[in-house]
């Protein structure tokens, strides 16, 4: 994949995902933690619930495929060491507050003088400029500001954020893409540059349907509709309870809808449930001027049908009958998912210090030439100090011991 490239990763949990993605693209990503390790190593879940900074599954999940060293960049020696490392690096990813690195003499202005080819990616809550630039944001704050939270949740219930740490992963992915765009520019121009991205802006961009379209052209703010969607002035159901959980299916019109709905009617007939809808001509069916009563009449037997079956049964029948029902998978369902299995998705990663292999999510995509799989587990605290400080930078044992005593590494 990307060949012979190195990234220095000085992120906290809000920026982990960027380096993880780049590592999966083949970049040698070196996580730089303060001595003692990242605070996020205290986040569970833990391996066998053992609360230990080198057993955090949260930390391992989001830092997989990186190597790791310890370094305190607030010390003079630490800053010198970082500058030495910058000379040999292509990328630097960081998620410090605005101005923090500049104050230490480690901002882009300084570092690009040392290495003009450096691409520096800065991840912050709200961006490098603006009235909120010094504000703090976590995943919750970003998803709320971005607007998708106002759309998610039970009607009349609290606004709900999306998957855990969704904004961190979303921003990390955006940051990795921006880094690669800058990298591609450098391949023919020779120049590095600075990338400014934020949790808040990524969350707003994710809210593409509402902002700006829905508000500017529909003059409305969509509310929280839970399992329903408000289309053509009626509510149609999109999330349905079934015997052992939930599935998604949505009523459509048009040619695709027609063939699907005919197949569904056939199935309802086989289960003795088609009475209310057997007379509908699906080829002519459309939503123009439709009433809620009519929709409810169509959805009632379907609701009953889905409740009778499990997620697996509904998916099997869906494939067999040409329908578009999908199980709402939990992590167990994901692990057993036939499509992921077919794609040889799950990856076994060695954790020798835990005397076991752990199964991780696998390739980011399939390529006829490139390998987009996870490489190896994330690092233990300071795991690659010797490799980087001794083997590469040529420090001897006594220098290393000295630096360690002073708390620089």
């Amino acid at each position: 994949m990307l060949n012979g490239l190195r990234a220095l990763d000085l992120t906290t949990e809000m920026g982990f995902f960027c380096g993880k993605v780049l590592a999966q693209f083949g970049v040698d990503v070196i996580k730089i933690e303060k001595p003692g390790g990242d605070t996020a190593r205290r986040f569970g879940p833990f391996w066998h619930d053992e609360d230990d900074p080198e057993k955090s599954l949260y930390w391992f999940a989001y830092n997989e495929s990186k190597r790791g060293i310890t370094l305190d960049i607030e010390t003079g020696e630490g800053q010198d060491i970082l500058k030495k490392l910058i000379l040999k690096s292509d990328f630097m990813i960081e998620s410090f507050p605005v101005g923090y690195l500049d104050k230490l003499g480690l901002g882009y202005r300084e570092l690009s003088k040392i290495n003009p080819r450096l691409i520096m990616t800065a991840i912050t809550p709200y961006g490098q400029t603006g009235p909120f630039k010094d504000y703090k944001a976590t995943d919750l704050i970003a998803m709320a500001g971005g607007g998708i939270m106002s759309l998610t949740g039970r009607p009349g219930g609290l606004p709900c954020r999306l998957s855990p740490d969704h904004a961190y992963c979303l921003t990390g992915a955006n940051a990795a893409l921006a880094t690669m765009i800058a990298y591609y520019y450098r391949t023919w121009s020779g120049e590095g540059q600075y990338i400014d991205t934020s949790l808040f802006e990524c969350a707003v961009r994710e809210n593409y349907n509402e902002v700006p379209v829905s508000w500017k052209f529909g003059r409305r703010n969509s509310g929280r509709n839970g399992t329903l969607m408000f289309r053509y002035n009626v509510f149609t159901r999109t999330i349905w309870p079934c015997k052992d959980g939930h599935v998604t299916w949505t009523l459509f019109a048009g040619t695709i809808g027609a063939s699907e709905n005919k197949n569904l009617t056939q199935w309802l007939e086989e289960e003795g449930l088609h009475e209310e809808i057997k007379d509908i001509d699906w080829d002519k069916f459309g939503f123009d001027g439709i009433t809620q009563e009519k929709i409810d009449g169509i959805e009632r037997p379907i609701f009953e049908l889905f409740k009778r079956h499990t997620k697996k049964e509904l998916e099997e029948e869906s494939l067999r009958r040409g329908l578009r029902i999908s199980a709402i998978n939990d992590v167990k369902d994901l692990y057993e998912n036939r499509q992921l299995y077919f794609r040889k998705y799950w990856k076994t990663i060695e954790h020798p210090e835990l005397s076991e292999q752990i199964i991780y999510p696998g390739q980011l995509f399939i390529s006829s030439e490139m390998n987009a799989e996870p490489r190896h587990r994330g690092p233990l605290i300071g795991e690659h100090n010797d490799q980087i400080y001794k083997d590469e930078l040529g420090f001897n044992d006594s220098t290393l011991a000295d630096l360690k005593n002073k708390g620089v590494i």
Binding site: P45, I141, N209, N225, G226, R338, Q363, S367
Partner: protein, 406 residues
């Protein structure tokens, strides 16, 4: 800005629809690539027939969302099913660095436009195929759309408070935002690979695969500890208070996230250390998690007095993460950070008129994105035929008459 953009000289040919494919192509179009989108007036893609329309009147050039997903591209209407249309398609493949598609899985292969077919035309072509679950496999079936993708990838399961059913975030198809980010990265890596090795490749990108990585910790909790991590809604296992809280006004909420002891102290400072904050029930994170429901009742009693803006300002000034649960109007009309950062840029389209477009959420210092509006349908037919394919004007007109350019 006279610096050439990153993808200057890169040529992309796309046959895409709806969001997943077009959004991928936009990254290339907005950073300097020439992107030609193949379309059809006979079989218009969904983007062309989606409301809202300008003045609520349907029309291929009147859909606003088309421009949101196809900014900066050229449009070429081509009959891909006709012999001479096929010839033209293959000529364009020869012209391209990247071919991008998100048709129903298997369709292009069936039309003899699969990777092996394209490779015969151009040995080093990069073919990017994006879909919900991959081009082949036991569950590829009849395809699906946003909600199928959110369901399959494990996202929907988490979109709820524990006592509720999963909920859909309206029409927002989250995987259609995230899939393209990875597809574009794969495309860039492929371009770089070609630069180094001279080889093209076939990329099969399933939205599901990168999305499962978003649930990394929960996945490992299952594969290691056998646990299915339940949804927590707007709460968080590592913080309290951490949730949406009621504010003054109808359906107005703020969000507050207190992770550290320091932040809890600052939070209590802002509230003026009312008696309840001194209770042992709330003195540590562990204690606050144990009594979280009661904690939230107390916090709500405080937040209810203020607007979300007031809560955000008071708490942020004290170093406590807090924000507003914004709706579209809040973001577009009121948010000061959105304005200061020019997150919404003014665009102009010949038919749609003036509209706002959310720029990419990353700013490259030397080569910022250059975002142009979307094309009218078939707007670049003459350009493609005469400039790229080398047709004469007569040949171009003939192609229209014979419905090859259609």
């Amino acid at each position: 800005m006279d610096k050439k953009l990153p993808f200057h000289g890169v040529k992309v040919l796309e046959w895409t629809q709806a969001i997943n494919g077009p959004w991928t192509g936009m990254y290339f179009a907005n950073f300097g690539a020439e992107v030609i989108k193949i379309e059809s007036t006979k079989f218009p893609e969904m983007g062309r027939t989606s409301s809202p329309y300008k003045d609520n009147i349907p029309g291929f050039d009147r859909s606003i969302t088309f421009n949101i997903f196809n900014a900066g591209k050229k449009s070429f209407t081509l009959n891909l099913r006709e012999d001479r249309g096929r010839e033209i398609f293959f000529k364009l493949v020869k012209w391209s660095d990247i071919v991008l598609q998100n048709q129903r899985p298997g369709l292009m292969k069936k039309m003899s436009y699969g990777y092996e077919d394209l490779k015969k035309i151009k040995e080093d072509i990069i073919l990017i195929e994006v879909s919900i679950m991959g081009q082949e496999g036991p569950m590829v079936g009849v395809g699906g759309w946003g909600s199928n993708s959110m369901a399959q990838s494990g996202q929907f399961y988490y979109y709820r408070f524990p006592e509720d059913e999963p909920s859909s975030p309206g029409f927002t198809a989250v995987p259609d935002v995230i899939g393209p980010i990875f597809a574009a990265m794969a495309g860039i890596a492929a371009l770089d690979y070609k630069r180094r090795t001279g080889k093209g490749q076939h990329l099969d990108i399933s939205q599901m695969e990168p999305l499962v990585h978003f649930l990394g910790p929960a996945i490992l909790d299952y594969t290691v500890n056998g646990r299915v991590q339940p949804p927590v809604g707007s709460r968080d296992p590592h913080a309290a208070p951490h949730n949406a809280f009621r504010c003054k006004g109808d359906n107005k909420y703020c969000v507050i996230a207190v992770f550290t002891d320091e932040e809890w102290r600052c939070f209590c400072d802002v509230l003026g250390h009312p008696d309840w904050t001194n209770s042992a029930k709330f003195s540590t994170l562990e204690a606050r998690k144990q009594h979280e429901t009661e904690l939230e009742e107390w916090v709500n009693k405080w937040t209810e007095q203020f607007s979300p803006q007031e809560v955000m300002t008071m708490l942020q000034k004290a170093g406590v993460p807090a924000g507003i649960v914004q709706n579209a109007q809040d973001i577009v009309d009121f948010d000061p950070q959105v304005k200061a950062r020019n997150l919404l840029i003014k665009m102009h389209h010949p038919v749609v008129g003036d509209y706002l477009h959310t720029r990419w959420p990353f700013i490259l210092s030397k080569t910022p994105a250059d975002i142009q509006t979307g094309p009218l349908i078939g707007e670049h037919n003459e350009y493609v035929c005469t400039e790229i394919l080398g047709m004469t004007e007569e040949e171009f007109v003939e192609s229209i008459i014979h419905e090859i350019i259609t």
